[in-house]
Amino acid sequence: MNSHTLTRLRYTYLPDHLIGEILSKRWIDNAIPVLTLALIIAVFGSVIGNFFTLGSIGNISQQVAELGLLTLALTIVMLSGGIDLSIGSIFGLAVLATLICMNALGLSVGVALLAALATGMLCGLINGLLIGYLRLRAFLTTLVMLIILRSVYEIVFLNFATRIVSGMPQSKLWDYLAFGKIYGIPAALFITLAIALVLHVILSRARHGWHITAVGGARRSAYNAGINVRRTICAAYVWSGGLAALAGFIYAARLGSAGADTGAGLEITALTAAVLGGISLGGGRGSVAKALIGTISVAALSSGLVRLGVPGPMNSLILGTVLILAVFVDVRWMKNKQKILNTVYMSPAYVVMPKAAETAVGSGSPYAVNDKLREVDAIGLGILEGPEDCVLDRDDNLYCGTRHGDVMKFHGPDHKTWELFAHVGGHPLGIQMDRDNNIVTCVGGMGLYMITPQREVVKLTDETNRSAFSIIDDSQLKIADDLDITDDGRVYFSEATIRYNIANWPMDALESRGNGRIVCYDMNTKKTHTELKNLVFPNGVCIAQDQQSFYFAESWGCRLSRYWFDGPKKGTLQVVIDNLPGYPDNINRSSDGHYWFTLMGMRTPSLDLALRMPGFRRRMARQIAVDEWLFPNINNGCVLKFNEKGEILDALWDLGGQNHPMITSIREHKGNLYLGGISNNRIGRYKIPGADPNWCALDARWGKS
């Protein structure tokens, strides 16, 4: 067993690309809070003998019920990028409002609840107006509100203290709120959990919740996206006030009385819980689950400390230390997560490339370099940017996509004049015309789209079935690349990679793992499914003449393959050419019954060597800047023709790269070959010597209309 075998085994079977994928998930933010909670429970569980008894848990759950609501209140505000220190005082005022209604005035439970909520939301509204609309600093404003509301509390409390103490409300519901238990668990906890569930749905599914998160995540971007930032922030504080008031209501039901310091200092406890749960102080990151994890941590911690007989001041010392530690971890996590992710996400695979076919002039190889493309004409020179592919209709009009998210139309037969045909919004890559003259195109980052002759842009699909064990969400289409359409309306299209988005596609070349796939969209059933997986940057797709199979190119794999989707050989995968000297791109039919394809760039010995050295590529990705990386050459390519046996019949080069060296696609139409290029500023037109001057691809494919 030599070192190459070891390297191969290590990079083939150790799934370390999963580390990066796990780190890129949002739920990974929960890891530290959950570990903290486990640690707290483990420590107290082993130190305190009866920590897990029912009474102890009942005590903790009662605490969770009230603290949980307060933490949720803080969570919403923190999500919006602010903070609310006045919740302790709002809590106190709500307790007071409830008790005045119940004990002093003898009103019903419903009225008391309304009074408490109204008190809390009014206080929240004041906060919201000051912070949201007048843009005061949240921390200081709510700190001052804490004192103001506390003073109000003291003033009101003095006036009602005796009447509160003497009053005895008669209400079964009230008593049930206080002492009701379901399976030994306080009813109050169920109320909190129900509210948490509702909030979870709002924050993660509803527009309002998304607005709050968006504003907290990036205030300016949220504003630019048309969100009413000020109103959203104001609403967050109203939510916070309301939830704090609800907590106060439950507390009032449980204790039935209030003291001079009811609710004092609760904001610090709730803040500790929120930060311990991993809710970010910067805003935009947090969830209901995190709030609950943090609440349980703090409840377990403080109840454990009480059980251990730790004196009060020591208790606040520990809570203070925990708060600083939690904030510290949060700040570090925020700062370094992206850095770590950037260094570990790129995970190279071990690839041994077959020896590349010879291309030298005079070598006699079918790939030998020539200068046939020296005389290529330019269409739309300077107008186009990035026409990856093009298609011609029966009236010789040429359609192609641009980097700006448009589909352009050049009028036939000379293609001198042009118009903007349709605006898609993303960069159209592969482009094809179906039987009814609809343009079907793969739009990078968006999915599969159709443009009708009436210029209507229709989304066909942007997601496929999710694989059972994938960590990253592989249901969305990240880089749909090229497509072809079968007679019965199935669209087979390639997705280059599921691990990188459209802006980072060259990174996939350094991995050279099978990250890509071929997906099928059925126009009749409107369903999408993944047909072939684990392909190395699948690119061009072309239905073969037998209508039962398609050819496809794997760019970084430097090979052409054929796959049967129908007929007796259904499901067979066959490699047609595996030693290409470059990276194959689109494939299309030629007038003589064969197939054209292009190489978008040429292999280099250095990169071939690097592919056998994944450790080298990994070090490169970690240690040097992206613009210093060894990337594949994609500046110089050629057009090739092959037959079904996999023989190369023709090669068109631009020796020296003087006129039209960069080619990603070809389209034969009436004796001419039209050349697209993803980094070109034009479409090339090459007159094929001896080709049928009347052959129209659409007629040949779909029959004369």
């Binding site: 990028g81 602010g82 903070i83 000051l130 007048l134 843009r135 005061l136 600093r137 949240a138 921390f139 200081l140 404003t141 700190l143 001052v144 509100m145 004192i147 103001i148 506390r150 003073s151 109000v152 003291e154 003033i155 003095l158 300016r220 610090i268 970010s280 102080l281 910067g282 805003g283 004196p311 009060g312 001041p313 020591m314 208790n315 606040s316 010392l317 520990i318 809570l319 203070g320 230390t321 708060l323 600083i324 904030v327 510290f328 700040v331 570090r332 925020m334 700062k335």
Partner: protein
Amino acid sequence: MRTMRLTQEGVVFLIALVLFVGFAITLTDFVSPGNLMTLLRSVAILGILGLGMGLVVVGRGIDLSMVAVMVVAVSWAIVIGQTEIGFATGILAGLIFCILTGLVVGVLVAYAEVPAIFTTLAMGSIVYGIGRSLFFTLDVQNVPPGNEWFAFLGRGTILGIPMAIIAFGIVAAVLHLVLRKTRFGRFIYASGDNPQAARIAGLPYRPLLVTQYVVSSCIAYVAGLVMAASVSGMNTRIFNSTMIYDVLLVVVLGGIGLAGGRGGVRNVIVGTLLVGVLLNGMTIMNISLTYQNLIKSVILLMAILIDTLLNPRDEQTSQQGDI
């Protein structure tokens, strides 16, 4: 900008003057020499604390742990003084405690990058917890008898001016010179005005931050000593009061913008005068402590509001998580 600042400071000064005149007319005994001395002495401690807070706020920070540090360090000094080790050593121990606390806060803020507001808020409970569980058990510590020099620091007078006011004057003068004339002072303005630019320009940004918190906690200690000297003891329950917000009130009212880089010692003095007049007037009017708190905090809210309107937050240099 400069005229705007002057306007705010001037407005506060005018309000103080108007209040003073108003109280002088409506309240008997307000302008008596005895009351004026009481007024000044009572706000001297607030003023000294305000100077420390002002320094940190100029550097775009905030120190909410000042009162806790003051209470615990001075109490510890007194507790040591009650033993045979001696009061002088105790005072030294308290000073070392303050420096250490300031260092911890500074390192957490500067190097661990924990927002100052959280560090100092939590540090307040931590310091108080340490004091309560390790240094002292009683609520009130009494200065051991036989330290006349210490009592003079609080109750003595020079040329008829109480020592507390003189201490305030000395701290103010020193701080003014440091802020205006030394490199350290100018660096604090620079780093408070635009931290990123200060760092790029090569200022020792992090050591600067640490120094700020060490200085502010030492100033808190001085305030504590003056307080202990004037009442012959230290009441640790002050920690639970809203004193730290009064300190903030002094700074913000005086016109030191919370965005950092603006204001100076003069602003603290003006703020102290206003708060002093206000507190004294309300006390003479026999307004209960609760109502006093309410009025004070509403005024503080107004001050923050005006501060925000006059010194809008700079979105370009405000940090993520800067709340």
